[in-house]
């Protein structure tokens, strides 16, 4: 019973943290240690909080254009749908993708139980080569000018590699630059449609969620390949429209979080901030109990977000978009300053400039992810 209460408490905390724009659960993990829980209780609490956090973090990413390191790419298709008046549908398809990934992750667990300890060492050896292929793929599938964005992002990535500056880096590339473009172009937000208006069928949604689950099962255990990069790769393999891409990205985010807990328990490897924190208090826990917490907290987080979606989008609808964007910009700068300091602001300025440059050159913003990929290749080779 006490386990269940702790699980629910963690879920509530995670939900609240996810709704705060620019707040990543990793920034809050050290405070959890202050709770007077036993190690196993803290373990379950963090898992529930992390799962709920992933679901609720779709709101600021889509409605305000404020991403965290995982939802960086959600901002672009999400923002497009918000401008078209489909904010509610954008949030709902993201939530739906996340939920189905939770469902599909169960059969994958049974595969991991046997295969992961055997496959992981082999996968580790080919990581840098996989990253080089991804980088080449990104360059060859875009305009020649993309090399400028790739080069500048890589340099910025190298300069910030030794510091924990992912927030300003990715917020600048994908969040702040998007908001500035919207304001400068005087983007008109259509009136928001408050009903679920999606072209996606359940079969289509399930297929894309399964693709997220499958790709994450390959790349989720590899260092330096974030969920955003997996989304990028999938978009090169198949053309996705805004809704499908949102499902893919949100699904990948959820799958990454789930697999990071599986990786910790099965091969004792950390693949997320939460898993790093949990590794310090990790005792041999039942994988099925952990799966139970993942399922319960995800399902309840989905339901709460499901019912919160309309009031939050309505709240957003009442606000002046230009004012809201300015407020978001101010908030982004304040959060970055609070969490990353003055150096973080310089990085934010640089990454925003690169994001704006990629827009003016007409190349894909995804090229900015070279800031993570290139330094990792250099370190691993």
């Amino acid at each position: 019973m006490i386990d269940l209460v702790i699980c629910l408490l963690g879920m509530c905390v995670g939900l609240l943290l996810g709704l705060v724009p620019g707040m990543h659960i990793n920034n809050f993990l050290p405070f959890f240690i202050l709770l007077s829980f036993t190690n196993p209780q803290l373990f379950f609490f963090v898992i529930a909080a992390s799962m709920a956090y992933v679901f609720s973090s779709f709101f600021p990413a889509i409605l305000l254009g404020v991403p965290n390191e995982d939802t960086a790419l959600n901002v672009l298709p999400g923002h497009r749908m918000v401008l078209e008046g489909n904010a509610y549908s954008a949030v709902m398809v993201s939530l739906a993708g996340g939920l189905l990934v939770v469902l599909f992750s169960m059969p994958f667990l049974f595969f991991f139980l046997n295969a992961l300890p055997l496959l992981y060492p082999a996968l580790q050896k080919i990581v840098p080569y996989m990253l080089i292929i991804i980088l080449l793929f990104m360059f060859l599938s875009d305009k020649k000018q993309s090399v400028i964005v790739l080069a500048l992002s890589s340099v910025l990535g190298f300069l910030t590699f030794d510091f924990n500056l992912l927030l300003p880096l990715l917020t600048g590339f994908f969040g702040l630059s998007t908001l500035l473009i919207s304001i400068l172009n005087d983007s008109l937000v259509s009136p928001q449609v408050m009903r679920f208006d999606s072209r996606l069928s359940l079969t289509n949604l399930s297929t894309i969620s399964f693709i997220s689950c499958f790709l994450s099962s390959i790349f989720g255990f590899i260092p330096a390949i974030s969920s955003s990069i997996v989304g990028t790769m999938a978009s090169y393999i198949r053309k996705f429209d805004s809704e499908e891409f949102l499902v893919l990205l949100s699904g990948t985010n959820v799958a990454y979080m789930i697999y990071s807990f599986f990786a910790l328990i099965l091969i004792n490897k950390t693949r997320s901030g939460s898993a790093v924190f949990l590794s310090q208090i990790f005792e041999k826990e039942s994988i099925f109990f952990v799966l139970g917490i993942i399922l319960l907290s995800s399902a309840l987080a989905f339901l709460i977000c499901f019912y919160l979606a309309k009031p939050l989008v309505r709240l957003y609808k009442r606000l002046d978009y230009r004012k809201l964007s300015l407020l978001s910009i101010f908030f982004i700068i304040a959060v970055n300053f609070a969490l990353a300091g003055p150096f973080g602001l310089i990085v934010l300025l640089a990454s925003t400039s690169i994001g704006l440059l990629s827009n003016s050159l007409g190349v894909k913003r995804i090229n900015c992810m070279a800031a993570l990929i290139v330094p990792t290749i250099v370190v691993l080779i």
Partner: protein, 112 residues
């Protein structure tokens, strides 16, 4: 896509999650055992009742309590000294070997 279907899926997942939590909960698996049974494999979650014997203190301030049951004894590591010799305890926690001895690392200790 129908939102009602998604709601149903989330309810099913929540119920399945609850069942897994109930079935595999560490507190559910803390089966009551005798000291001699615990000492045999000295691992995993356990629940035990016994009487406090000698109490000593480790160099880092932890309290080492001998828990007695019939003629067997096992060591219990506590953070605070809230028990005294002769107290009857119910202990829920994990058994583990350390320095060639079987220890119980408690999650919950109740005075009986």
């Amino acid at each position: 896509m129908d939102l009602a279907t998604l709601r149903k899926i989330s309810f099913i997942l929540a119920i399945f999650g609850l069942l897994l939590i109930y079935g595999f909960s560490p507190s559910q698996s803390q089966v009551k055992k005798s000291i001699s049974e615990i000492r045999r494999d000295c691992s995993g979650p356990v629940a035990i009742e016994g009487t406090v014997g000698n109490i000593s203190y480790s160099s880092n301030g932890n309290v080492i309590v001998e828990l007695l049951q019939n003629r067997s004894k096992i060591l219990l590591l506590l953070k605070d000294s809230f028990v005294e010799e002769g107290s009857n305890l119910s202990v829920f926690g994990k058994a583990s070997k350390f320095s060639n001895q079987c220890w119980i690392f408690p999650e919950r200790v109740e005075l009986r």
